[in-house]
C-alpha cells in the first residue's frame, strides 16, 4: 500500500492535520508512527485504515484491513462472543468459523471467561481485549493499531506483541502508534515521526543488535540444521541476527515478540530445523533487556517468559529443551509443532 501526497483537513477552511504524506507500507513490515499528542497520528492511522478519505493525494492498494481504536466503548448490546462473531462475519468469515475464531482469540487474551458477558458489563481492559480480538480474528493483511496496548494487562500486552509479530511473519503489514517507546522496540522495520502535520523518517535503532539497550528484550534461538550445513530458510520472521557456529548450527537473535514466530518458521521449514535451546542472550546483553525492563514496574511483559528461559542451561540435553523452551506464556501453537517435529525425528 502507498500513500502519495496525502493531506487531510476537517472542514473546507480547517487547518491541515496532516499534509504531504508520502508513505510506503510494504508487505511483511512492522511500521511505527511517533508523535506528540494531537500531532495527527490518529488522523494518519484513520486515513490508512480507510475510515477517512484524504482531502488531497491518494492511497493505493489498500488490502483487507482491520483497526483497533484507542478506547473501545462498551455501549453495545452484545455479549463479547456475540460481538466478535458479528465482526468476524463482517470481516468476511463464515458463521461457524467466525464463532470459532472469536473463541480462540478471547482465549488467547485471557478473556475466555468473559465470552458470555455483555459488553456493557466488561471492565475497560477486557473490552480493549475484545477490540483487539475483533481486529485479529480474520487475519487482516493490514493491521492498524491506535495505542491498542492501552488498558491491557501485562499478559495481554505480551500476547498482542506476539500476535503482531505473527501477522508480520505471515506477510501482513502492521502500522502502530504507542506512547511507550519500548513497545516492540527493535522489532519495527520502519519508524516515522509526525510533527507539524508532516511525516518524517524517525531515527530507528535499525542495527539494534549492536545497541542492546535500545533494542528491547531479545531472545536467542540455537538451532541445528536438518542436514549437514543446511541453509537457513529465507525471510525468517523478525530479521534475526544470525551467527553460524563452526559445527553448522545457527544462533538467531530476534526481538522477544518474534521468538514464537521464529520458532514456528524454523520448526515448520521444509525440512524442519531442530531447536537446541531458546534463551535470552548470555553475557552483558542479557543484563540490559531483562534488567532494564525489570526495573520498570509494569514491564516484564514480553520477556517475562523469556527471561525465565535464560535459566535453561545451554548445551543441556537438546531434546529436553525443545519441550519446555517455547512454553511458559508462549502460545500453545508453538509447542505443538515442536512436539510433532520432535516426534518426526
Amino acid at each position: 500500500m502507498r500513500l502519495d501526497g496525502v493531506g487531510r483537513r476537517y472542514g473546507v477552511r480547517g487547518p491541515w492535520v496532516v499534509r504531504g504524506v508520502d508513505l510506503d507500507l510494504p508487505q511483511r513490515a512492522l511500521v511505527r508512527v511517533e508523535g506528540a499528542n494531537g500531532s495527527g497520528k490518529s488522523t494518519l492511522l484513520r486515513l490508512c485504515a480507510g475510515i477517512d478519505r484524504p482531502t488531497t493525494g491518494r492511497i493505493r492498494g489498500r488490502p483487507r484491513t482491520a483497526y483497533v481504536p484507542e478506547r473501545f466503548p462498551p455501549a453495545l448490546p452484545f455479549t463479547a462472543l456475540g460481538y466478535l462473531t458479528h465482526l468476524g462475519r463482517v470481516h468476511g468469515l463464515r458463521g461457524p468459523a467466525a464463532a470459532r475464531a472469536a473463541g480462540v482469540w478471547l482465549e488467547r487474551f485471557g478473556a475466555a471467561g468473559h465470552a458470555g458477558t455483555p459488553l456493557s458489563a466488561l471492565s475497560k481492559g477486557t473490552s480493549q481485549k475484545v477490540a483487539v480480538a475483533q481486529a485479529l480474528l480474520a487475519a487482516p493483511e493490514l493491521l492498524v493499531l491506535d495505542e491498542a496496548w492501552t488498558g491491557l494487562d501485562a499478559a495481554a500486552r505480551g500476547e498482542l506483541d506476539r500476535a503482531v509479530a505473527e501477522r508480520v511473519a505471515d506477510g501482513a503489514t502492521v502500522l502502530f502508534v504507542d506512547h511507550d517507546p519500548r513497545r516492540l522496540a527493535g522489532a519495527a522495520d520502519a519508524c516515522h515521526r509526525i510533527a507539524d502535520g508532516r511525516l518524517r523518517p524517525a531515527p530507528q535503532p535499525s542495527d539494534a543488535a549492536d545497541r542492546p539497550a535500545e533494542a528491547g528484550p531479545r531472545v536467542t534461538v540455537h538451532a541445528e540444521p536438518p542436514g549437514a550445513g543446511g541453509e537457513l530458510p529465507g525471510e525468517l520472521p523478525g530479521r534475526p541476527v544470525t551467527v553460524r557456529e563452526p559445527d553448522g548450527t545457527a544462533r538467531l537473535t530476534v526481538p522477544a515478540a518474534y521468538s514464537d514466530a521464529l520458532l514456528r518458521a524454523l520448526l515448520t521449514a521444509r525440512p524442519p530445523w531442530h531447536i537446541r535451546t531458546v534463551a535470552a542472550p548470555a553475557g552483558p546483553r542479557s543484563e540490559s533487556p531483562a534488567g532494564g525492563c525489570g526495573a520498570v514496574p509494569d514491564a516484564g511483559e514480553p520477556d517475562g517468559g523469556t527471561a525465565a528461559l535464560g535459566a535453561v542451561p545451554e548445551g543441556s540435553a537438546p531434546r529436553a529443551a525443545t519441550g519446555p523452551a517455547p512454553a511458559g506464556s508462549a502460545s500453545p501453537a508453538v509447542t505443538s509443532p515442536a512436539g510433532t517435529e520432535g516426534g518426526s525425528r
Binding site: 478506547r71 473501545f72 463482517v90
Partner: protein
C-alpha cells in the same frame, strides 16, 4: 452486506431504541384509525404515519454505534457500505410495522367510500394501501438518512430537520409521499382505489439516489 445487516439489526433490536418510534406509530394508528373509518382514508393516514416512524428509526440506526465501534466496522467493510447497512436496516425494521399497520387497517376499517355509500373492493384497496406504505417507507428512510450523520451532526439540528422533513414530504403536491396520500384521500371521496404507479415509480429512484449520495458522503467525511 448480509453480515452488516445482521450486525446492525442485532444492534438495533438489542438497544431497544426501536421501541419509541414503533409505539408512536401504533399510537397514531389506534387514535387515527378507529373501527369503521373509511378504508382508503385509513390507508392514507397509516401511510403518512409511517413517515415519522421511518425518519426516527433511520436516525436511531445511523447514530446507534459509538464512534470507535463504527470505525472498526468501517475499516472492515468500507464507510459507505457500513452506512448503507445502517440505513437499510432502518427500512427493513420498519417493514413489519408497516405491514402490520396495513393489515390493521384492512381488518378494522369500513370498506366504503368517505360518505359510506359506495362500497370499495377491499383487495385492490389493500394493494393501494400497501403501495402507499412502501412509498412513505422509502421516502421516510431517505429523508431520515439526509437529516442525520454524516450530513447533519449533533442532536438538535437533525431532530428538527427530521420533523421538518416529515412536513415537507406531506404538504406540497410535488412529493411522491404527498401524492399517494392525496390520491388515496381523493379515491375515498369517489370510492375508487387507483394504484399509485407514478409516485411509486418516482419514490424508488429518488430515495435510492438520496441514500447513495449520503453514503458517498459518509465515505468522505467518516
Amino acid at each position: 452486506m448480509i453480515a452488516l445487516l445482521r450486525y446492525q439489526t442485532g444492534l438495533l433490536l438489542g438497544s431497544h431504541r426501536w421501541l419509541p418510534p414503533v409505539l408512536l406509530y401504533a399510537g397514531f394508528l389506534v387514535v387515527g384509525v378507529g373501527a369503521g373509518s373509511p378504508v382508503l382514508d385509513a390507508f392514507a393516514f397509516a401511510a403518512a404515519a409511517l413517515l415519522p416512524l421511518t425518519v426516527w428509526l433511520t436516525r436511531v440506526c445511523v447514530t446507534n454505534e459509538p464512534p470507535a465501534a463504527r470505525s472498526c466496522v468501517a475499516t472492515a467493510a468500507g464507510p459507505a457500505r457500513a452506512h448503507l447497512a445502517a440505513v437499510l436496516t432502518a427500512a427493513l425494521v420498519a417493514l413489519p410495522p408497516a405491514l402490520a399497520g396495513t393489515a390493521f387497517v384492512a381488518l378494522f376499517s369500513d370498506p366504503r367510500s368517505n360518505d359510506h355509500r359506495v362500497a370499495v373492493d377491499l383487495l385492490p384497496a389493500t394493494a393501494c394501501g400497501l403501495a402507499a406504505a412502501v412509498v412513505c417507507l422509502l421516502l421516510g428512510t431517505a429523508v431520515g438518512a439526509v437529516c442525520n450523520r454524516p450530513v447533519l451532526h449533533g442532536t438538535a439540528l437533525p431532530v428538527c430537520a427530521g420533523l421538518l422533513g416529515c412536513v415537507v414530504l406531506v404538504v406540497p403536491a410535488l412529493s411522491p409521499a404527498s401524492a399517494v396520500v392525496r390520491g388515496l384521500v381523493a379515491g375515498s371521496m369517489s370510492g375508487t382505489a387507483a394504484m399509485p404507479w407514478l409516485p411509486l415509480g418516482a419514490a424508488i429512484p429518488l430515495s435510492a439516489g438520496l441514500v447513495a449520495a449520503v453514503c458517498h458522503l459518509a465515505a468522505r467525511r467518516g
